[in-house]
Symmetry: C2
Subunit: 216 residues, 2 copies
């Protein structure tokens, strides 16, 4: 691995939008100590680029098409436990943040953050620290006080049914898929709404999407 103090911090950028990557690249490289050594526009390429360039930090947008960003994190970390991954996204759901850290991320910064906060997060992650932007810290703080996230109160079965439902499946399809009676699926549906406080199906779909359970 490169000597951080001596040669600066090497960064692998992962984002599916080329101009966004180029923008980040310029912002980072204007800092002097940050060097973008490679880019990737999907989760699959990310690991290849990681192996080739062995960057100090992977800066990754986890809302990409194809494989989930969380999968990509797990993937990289499983094969290279020393990898430092900074998640960089517009989402700020506590569930997603926790999922990212559980998957092995070292930091989590939202795109709403000031550029200075982003580059400082990169430096922190490169030093082996855990880094997150202020808004994420607040979200997690709120979350820890409010006794866990929405999804934490759901059982495995409930989450699976919520995922399929939010994905557009009908009650019959879910019942057939999971070998349940329609009535049971209906009951779960009701239970999920009760537990999450969603008043309409649409709110449930949005909840699932904002928790990263489904992508739209």
């Amino acid at each position: 691995m490169s000597e951080v103090a001596a040669t600066g911090i090497s960064v692998l950028l992962v984002d599916d939008h080329p101009i966004v990557r180029q923008g980040y690249r310029r912002v980072l490289e204007s800092q002097g100590d940050l060097h973008v050594v490679a880019e990737a526009d999907n989760a699959a390429d990310a690991y290849g680029a990681f192996k080739t360039h062995d960057p100090d930090v992977v800066m990754m947008d986890i809302s990409m098409p194809g494989a989930s960003g969380l999968e990509a994190i797990r993937n990289i970390r499983a094969r290279s436990p020393r990898a430092r991954i900074l998640v960089f996204t517009m989402h700020n759901e506590a569930v997603l943040v926790k999922a990212a850290f559980n998957a092995g991320a070292s930091g989590f910064v939202t795109k709403s953050s000031a550029p200075s906060a982003v580059v400082n997060a990169i430096r922190g992650v490169a030093r082996g620290e855990r880094a997150m932007s202020d808004d994420i810290a607040h979200v997690l703080a709120e979350d820890s006080l409010s006794a866990g996230s929405v999804l934490d109160q759901l059982g495995e079965r409930e989450i699976e049914i919520l995922r399929q439902f939010a994905g557009g499946a009908t009650t019959e399809q879910i019942a057939a898929q999971l070998n349940l009676s329609v009535k049971t699926v209906q009951n779960y549906h009701y239970l999920i709404k009760t537990k999450t406080g969603a008043r309409t199906d649409a709110q449930l779909v949005r909840l699932a999407a904002s928790c990263g359970l489904t992508r739209i």
Copy 2:
């Protein structure tokens, strides 16, 4: 208005993510002929900045919180018909593209485009041309062949009800908001599902989201 040939092209950046704006700014300014004269992070500020700086081109991400980006375009164009607005977003739904052009946009470029395509679009828009990225041209071409998008078959009232429904509003809330009977809203709900072919409410929400009608 500035003399494009003599002084370059002045650009107003509108995007709700500061680091994204800063990234774009650097990409644009590295071109030599493009100058970012102001930034705004919401639709309301965008018009203020437009009045103050009178830029040649407004480069705008229309997926921002608060007022719809389409509203912002209409707003600016209504007050300054000479304004050139280049929409720059990750969405590539034909409905949204057409809506943007109808609202008065001069160009539409997706974030998937190569940076060179983006800067060329800015130059084209500044010259008064209509500009769009290749993928958008393909989407519109497909759309014109496939006899219109899903949303095209919906009336204004239907779209408004779909938007509110997908946003999480209950039937009662929509009825109250629009001064309709609950029965009418229910009928619209059914009609929308029939017209769009959605079998569940969840599919409807996803449809609305994928058309840029709601954000999750």
